[in-house]
């Protein structure tokens, strides 16, 4: 069985568990994103058809919630926490430094898909602000230098293509 089929099967299973109920749309979108990494239109259409929901409704829901991603995220994902505590402690300056270094804007990926820079509203690590997450690893009480160094490390030798 190909990876595609396996993924589809996993999604189907999840939908079945929820009896294809329309109220489970969020749960299924969560699951789909877990399986596929992001939600493209084909996938959304598939879900809409399986749950007998209008496609526009599914698209509306998927884009309403910021947690769902409709584009493939970069290989490496940097997430800056823009919660209050982190903001007060200067996360904005760190983000600006990353934007400058890699010529990338918040919410974007480099054209070669190596690096994505995202923001989130509070990861709840307020006591350790400012917090930046580099590929699932949280850097607490982050500074510009530490974060840039860390990004360099995860990227290995290659510098992502800039715009």
């Amino acid at each position: 069985m190909s990876t595609d089929d396996k993924r589809r099967l996993a999604l189907e299973k999840s939908m079945k568990e929820h009896n294809y109920e329309e109220s489970a749309l969020l749960e299924i979108l969560h699951r789909a994103q877990e399986i596929y990494g992001y939600l493209d239109k084909e996938l959304l259409m598939d879900i809409a058809q399986s749950l007998h929901l209008p496609p526009s409704h599914v698209f509306g829901v998927a884009t309403f919630y910021s947690y769902f991603k409709l584009k493939r995220p970069g290989q490496h994902v940097i997430t800056g926490c823009l919660g209050t505590a982190c903001y007060v402690k200067g996360v904005d300056e760190i983000m600006r430094a990353i934007e400058k270094e890699y010529n990338i804007k918040r919410g974007e990926s480099t054209p070669d898909g190596k690096l994505s820079l995202l923001v989130t509203r509070c990861i709840g690590a307020c006591a350790m602000a400012p917090a930046i997450v580099v590929d699932d690893e949280m850097i607490a009480k982050a500074t510009k230098e530490v974060v840039l160094q860390k990004i360099k490390e995860v990227l290995g030798g290659d510098k992502p293509e800039s715009r």
């Binding site: 959304l44 209008p54 496609p55 526009s56 409704h57 698209f59 509306g60 309403f64």
Partner: protein, 237 residues
Amino acid sequence: MGDAIVTLKIDGVEVHVPEGTMILKAAKDNGIIIPTLCNLEGLTPYGGCRLCLVEISGSPKLFAACITPVSSGMEVTTQSEKLKEYRKMAVQLLLAEKSHVCSVCVANDHCELQSLANELGVDHTMFERNFTKEEIDSTHDFLVIDRNRCILCTRCIRVCDEIEGVHTLDLRMRGKDAQIIMDLDNKWVNSCSCTSCRKCAKVCPVGAIYIEGEPVGHTKHKEIAEFITERRQRKCK
């Protein structure tokens, strides 16, 4: 809705309406017109535009007349300095939100936002006007959507879902980024569910959805509420 009749006062006038009636309707049936934009008789009330805010004595809060049911002994005020100022504010915000350039709009002279601004005397906006370049989709044979004029009243979405029953239209994103979409945000010509029924164009209060080549005045000449009620009844049979 029960058969019980509720007695209340609107602008000092005693009115009697069936229980469950919304203040807006109760007022209209008694000759008191409250300005609205998102509301359209026959569609589920939305409560979004906030034009129909009214005061109810005993409460410091304001209530949207389209979604607040009457209750016995209620005293409603539909006109006051504060309400007028707030209605002007809502119109100003809508005018400033997108490129509302009336002189080059298909709905010029047939636009509910334009006429509200006129009636209320909104002779300028205290906010800088935004000029947007949202997508215009004219791929459909005769239906066009110009998102730069949309005030997100969602009448089109509701008529598409509740009357035509296909739910081609919905909203994408949220807040300031919200926009009307077809299916999976497809071009209109690629819509798999649109029946080209034109209802969306008929209910659009501004010039956001219109029929190409047809004067907007012509599209909207028919009393929309009547049109919808008639459709509803036909559906019931």
